[in-house]
Symmetry: C2
Amino acid sequence: MEAELKEMLNDLDSLKQSLPDPSNLASSILKLQSRVEHLTKLAKSAPVRRTKVQDMSAEVVDSNPYSRLMALQRMGIVDNYERIRDFSVAIVGIGGVGSVAAEMLTRCGIGRLLLYDYDKVELANMNRLFFRPEQVGMTKTDAASQTLSDINPDVVLESFTLNITTVQGFETFMSSLRNKSFRPNKEGSGVDLVLSCVDNYEARMAVNQACNELNQTWMESGVSEDAVSGHIQLLIPGETACFACAPPLVVASGVDERTLKREGVCAASLPTTMGVVAGLLVQNTLKLLLQFGQVSPYLGYNSLKDFFPTMEMRPNPQCSNAACLERQKEYLLVKPAREAAIIAKMEAEVLSVPEGPLHTDNEWNISVVDDSAPERTDATSSGDIYCYMTL
Amino acid sequence: MEAELKEMLNDLDSLKQSLPDPSNLASSILKLQSRVEHLTKLAKSAPVRRTKVQDMSAEVVDSNPYSRLMALQRMGIVDNYERIRDFSVAIVGIGGVGSVAAEMLTRCGIGRLLLYDYDKVELANMNRLFFRPEQVGMTKTDAASQTLSDINPDVVLESFTLNITTVQGFETFMSSLRNKSFRPNKEGSGVDLVLSCVDNYEARMAVNQACNELNQTWMESGVSEDAVSGHIQLLIPGETACFACAPPLVVASGVDERTLKREGVCAASLPTTMGVVAGLLVQNTLKLLLQFGQVSPYLGYNSLKDFFPTMEMRPNPQCSNAACLERQKEYLLVKPAREAAIIAKMEAEVLSVPEGPLHTDNEWNISVVDDSAPERTDATSSGDIYCYMTL
């Protein structure tokens, strides 16, 4: 198209030069008209966006972008899929994991996505999914908003180009999480879940601080610097360990993330590991929001051995985070009532489904299931290691 | 841009009408020129493709698309990452799993990708990653080639718009796998691995037939019709069960895929499950090709419980597939020498790394790790169920 436009400029120049001689003008104008008509055709072949849809239809037609999601209801997996449009999810860090998580939630038709990043797209990011070479130089938030709104215009996108570890960035982050304009009658904060997809310790601590202050459930994710391991973790203030309760697992396993960005040293990364971690993260997000299956408290991915460790971490009564200690106190007050409700629900399920217990959990090594805890008839399968770290 | 062009046509019309009055012409021409300049700017903001690179550099600069992959060498994961450019991978079925697998391999800089599909992109596919609404109506092979070549022009792409379950389609499929022009001195067929990402039994049987005939290692993948489970499986003709050796697991678990496409009935699907399965598939592909970690013979993904069963399946001496029986005979001849080599290698490793033996393979009918088995100090971790099905 550029060459076409250049020629048009030349034509206009010769038109100008022929000004004293109007006899040539008519043919010049005709020539210009045919050029414009050609350009119009070219412009028409450019991307057409799909229009917004009012309701999620379950109709099985090729033109319905939601038919395969609404089918989750007919398959008995989800009671009411369309509830997904009520939910807001905040994604902090739009890198190799966060961008894919954002795309998955967008394609699932999430109600509202809040995106936070301060970085720009580089060619060095092209070994992970999502960003495209033509977006190099754009902010990750702008590039993501562009791609995501093209994919699904039904999703309300809000993007924030900021660093949450700065004072100003943290304040904006907090106020954006508090904003309840999308669903004014919602309890708690303005979002249903925060997904941390950042690549450094400071940013994780900032998300932890914000979520502890707001009593906001969040999920943490991470990928090792050698690119072959990753994890996701559910954090419910007061109920589970917060990020400050325990030495972060990445540090505990011998990787100091603060050294990763040393000059001239870059961490390895793979689209596979990051895609798997994003998939596990968003799958657990869907399970949490749409209430199906079991949400994993912690799930690791060791890709060299295809090993997926699970565990649970209890809050640390000596946690250094004051907001965490507040949430722990609140949780201890509501805990007896909650546990009674869980036991009543489990008993009702045992009565309605005439099956024996699936198995009794085995005990080994790292640590063991507390025998005094209610029996897990649901069970995360005989294969899982459950570590209840009491700190 | 369309509105802009329409106005330009209007301008040209008024220019024509002002022909008898040349005094207005100069200003009209100036107006047109500024319009063209504006259009030129718009055209310049259109996608720019990245250029091909000669060698994979490990240089840590933002403009290097391979820096984070070459870092796998420095991290001690891969001996020689650049070998990836020698490999050809065929992907059959460019749907929810195949398209993402293709994108991952493309971003990893695989040498050559062969893509097979006969379907077109529909809006109903938008709940899975990869295809975009503006590609609706294109063949999946064309749309994929367009996106993948923009992402990484270094990858040699060959796409085949055909149905491998037809006689003609199967013949083209076979001859394309045999074609060794990319690496003429390669042993065996012209590809290093076939990835089956199809959604029906007949297509899987066609891939099985081709791979048995060509003695071609392949990996099978699948996602359940309720969208919440999936699996990958490694098939080495003669050495592991082929797809005809055992009743396919999808059928064995009570799902008849042939009913899925019944009129008015559509299977559910999720970008999460398909993204995870694609990630596990390509991660195992990388492990196989670049020789790191352990390739899983079978890996399931039960997303409701985040449970990942593994098992191995031996070939069935009564398999109905004649080519499989041929491969089994060949394998039995080389087996003693191969096993001796494996034992020698393991003994060498035990001498160099002072660790106990990994474990001895037990044989039984779907069941769990025997308590009397040697302790798994390595390995696929105490958490996994290992089922060795002897058929």
